[in-house]
Symmetry: C2
Subunit: 95 residues, 2 copies
């Protein structure tokens, strides 16, 4: 089997445009048809921004095909004992 | 026609639990089957938190039936001339 192109992009604290660029790069490779953006906590807003910027400004035929939300358990912060629950989002886009 | 119960909750800067409470109240009225959470900008993360808290901790048979993202145009801030684009989310939950 040929090597599989990157199909998941983890969205974190970088500016939205870094992730938009990663999407554009992945799709211009040619054989990439679908990418899933994953984010949690405050980065959820960034993930939505990334999908919207990519769709409205750069890749006109981009479609949001699936959005899922969920909850993940994070290990406790240093000095704390309770684990934290954090919301997550997965946005699948395809062209 | 009977009065329609509130079926849209706008999520803003309040703590997530205020919105969770609004959901619980709306659903306990009895004839409410579906609520849409609407949020934009940083409140998108709060809206996801609200849906997840309501589902995992309070209303066990709650289902997320639809999630949509989009972009809205906001009027320019005072002293600025350009309008701003802001991402939006709509999360529909039903039981």
């Amino acid at each position: 089997m040929a090597e599989k192109p990157q199909d998941v992009i983890f969205v974190g604290n970088k500016p939205p445009m870094s992730y938009v660029l990663a999407i554009i790069t992945a799709f211009s490779s040619g054989n990439q048809k679908e990418i899933t953006l994953k984010a949690r906590g405050q980065a959820i807003t960034t993930a939505v921004d990334v999908a919207e910027i990519a769709r409205s400004r750069f890749i006109k035929d981009l479609k949001v095909t699936k959005i899922e939300i969920g909850t993940a358990e994070m290990p406790p912060r240093e000095g704390e004992t309770k684990s934290r629950m954090v919301s997550t989002i997965e946005i699948t886009i395809s062209k």
